[in-house]
Symmetry: C2
Subunit: 171 residues, 2 copies
DNA sequence: GCCATAAAGCAACGATCTTTGCTTTGATGA
DNA sequence: TCATCAAAGCAAAGATCGTTGCTTTATGGC
């Protein structure tokens, strides 16, 4: 029941991010629109719930190659591939539009920060000189998201360039 | 007439970025809704026009202090103050939501790029070693917008820190 | 000054969303 | 098993949006 609703929202976000209504969701989920109107304040409230479930997803494994440069390159590449998927782009847009950033955006960023901290800590234990985790967020993650949200190109070499840039800060 | 419509849209964006309709705009502007339905394809088309007019605004003067670090610091500070204004934040959100990024987002980014090029060129003529204009966009502008869009804090020192970071790339 | 064309207003219609009262289903505990 | 209460379905009414045909106004050329 509830999962049917969540998947229905997910499908609709994947198809048309513009103008998703309760009746649409209800039809897909095979429930009565009234149920949705009664349970959630509005469509954004439901979307927030779905986005939180979809994006706060489990800990992706963090690369551990033995060199921070390799780790970051792989990591940035994975993220770049992930957030440029049309479906994911629409999720991001929908999130921003629905103002669910305060809740979800922060949790996503925090997850990325934790991953960065992990890689940086390992590198430091190996004796490498590293940028801070916050710098990695600012100079690798932020530009990637910026390009996605504003529909700027994210070619394969771009993530690599960002990693190269942030590493020069450590020297 | 046309300006009345534009200002009406601006007001509405400033108040409620969610669900702006032609009848709302028409009422504010003192015109008939039909006029809007006939002239613009949909609300997004009108929003795009207004956003373009509001954001492509004239060439803000670019700082010219005689040192790139000073220039960038002042510039980033101005931008940070500008894009954190509640009204501007709502504009950005509305833009992203309405998918008018492809048109407007690019033009805004291009304007920033031109400004960065100007400052970098001047610095190079003075003999300074500088990052590229593209790097300034990636590592100063992008993190600022990222923080705004995802509702992360943009305290005064943040812009300064970004500038410091990007300058270390040039050495 | 008059006519032609384009733009804006008006009004009515249809479609869709949203709300609300009431009924039905289903799960829980005595 | 039955009683009870919460949650879901149903149906009708109300509100808003979006569309379209027609009328009115204004602007420019002759």
């Amino acid at each position: 029941m509830l999962t049917a609703i969540h998947t229905a929202v997910g499908e609709l976000v994947g198809e048309r991010a513009d103008k998703i209504t309760f009746p649409m969701i209800a039809e897909r989920a095979g429930v009565n629109p009234t149920t949705l109107y009664r349970r959630w304040k509005d469509v954004n409230a439901l979307m927030e719930e779905v986005a939180a479930a979809a994006l706060t997803r489990d800990g992706d494994p963090v690369p551990d190659t033995g060199s921070l440069e390799q780790d970051l390159t792989q990591w940035a590449d994975i993220i770049a591939r992930d957030i440029t998927r049309p479906m994911r782009v629409r999720y991001l847009r929908a999130m921003v539009a629905a103002r669910i950033d305060i809740v979800v955006g922060c949790s996503v960023t925090e997850a990325r920060l934790e991953q960065a901290v992990l890689m940086v800590d390992r590198a430091r234990e190996r004796g490498e000189t590293t940028p801070t985790a916050a710098q990695i967020l600012d100079h690798v993650i932020a530009p990637l998201y910026h390009h996605v949200v504003f529909a700027l190109p994210v070619d394969p070499g771009y993530a690599r360039r960002l990693v190269r840039d942030v590493l020069t800060m450590a020297r």
